[in-house]
């Protein structure tokens, strides 16, 4: 049962933080280049456009869900399992989700990068 709770929580972390990253990325693509916008229309316009974006607010909510799932996972298992497992799975899940939902061109180079970083994170925690 402990195993099921731990991996269930890790799955929740991965899904929620991937959804959060994808939503935040989508929101910021809608807003457009923040540097250019700031120079042209000022900081308040930038802040207003970001905060009025529903994807941004939903993205923040998903990040909060991910954070509380992390706290839950940590109450069932060691940080040395939870942190690297969720971080490295999130890298790979993000590459898949960005390809499907954001239509990003995830070429060999980006797959290699996601897998190398995911593997590296596991080794660092080992």
């Amino acid at each position: 049962m402990k195993h099921a709770y731990t991996w269930g929580a890790i799955l929740a972390i991965v899904l929620a933080s991937t959804a959060g990253d994808v939503l935040l990325s989508r929101a910021m693509k809608r807003v457009g280049d923040v540097g250019e916008l700031w120079r042209r229309s000022g900081l308040m316009t930038v802040a207003g456009r970001i905060l009025r974006n529903p994807s941004f607010l939903l993205g923040i909510f998903m990040m909060a869900v991910a954070f509380y799932s992390l706290l839950f996972a940590l109450s069932w298992a060691d940080v040395s399992l939870v942190a690297p497992a969720s971080a490295s799975l999130t890298f790979v899940a993000n590459a898949i989700a960005a390809k499907i939902f954001l239509h990003e061109r995830v070429d060999h180079r980006r797959w290699m990068a996601a897998v190398l970083v995911a593997g590296g994170v596991v080794l660092l925690a080992g």
């Binding site: 910021m28 109450s75 996601a114 590296g120 080794l123």
Partner: protein, 146 residues
């Protein structure tokens, strides 16, 4: 990719690593918080290390949002994962922790991943017809530039 954009990516990396380190240091001073006394977690921001850590993490979030406004998610995430390497180096040289061969191998793999992704383009260019149902982003163009 301009120099300014690389600076923003460096900001994402540095602020996250520094923020996390400060938070960790602060929470070690605060000590364990039990589930029965969960509201105490609000008071932890009175610890200067925790407060400083939160400040850096706010900086991280602004830099991260800025980067996502002009680069793909699958570019930003690996490109800023050098923070893990930075944390390991801080552990070795500032905190004098032991960094094992396995960890050095992990550092090498992450660095290789960062090298791979930063060689490529930062942003996927979508042909205009691809996103027809969705509202078109408000243009932030060079046309307006003096």
């Amino acid at each position: 990719m301009t120099f300014r954009k690389y600076l923003v990516l460096a900001g994402v990396t540095l602020f996250a690593a520094i923020g996390d380190s400060f938070l960790a240091r602060g929470m070690q001073q605060v000590g364990n918080i039990s589930l029965q006394r969960l509201p105490d977690i609000v008071l932890t921001i009175l610890n200067p290390w925790v407060a400083l850590g939160i400040l850096f993490l706010l900086g991280f979030f602004s830099a991260y949002m800025t980067a996502l406004s002009w680069a793909d998610l699958t570019y930003v995430l690996p490109a800023t994962s050098l923070g893990y390497v930075l944390l390991a180096l801080i552990a070795k040289f500032l905190l004098h922790e032991q960094v094992t061969t396995t960890r050095w191998l992990g550092i090498a793999m992450i660095s290789a991943g960062v090298g791979f992704v930063t060689q490529g383009p930062a942003l996927t260019h979508h042909p205009p017809h691809e996103d027809e149902g969705a509202p078109v982003p408000e243009p932030v163009g060079s046309r307006m530039e003096p």
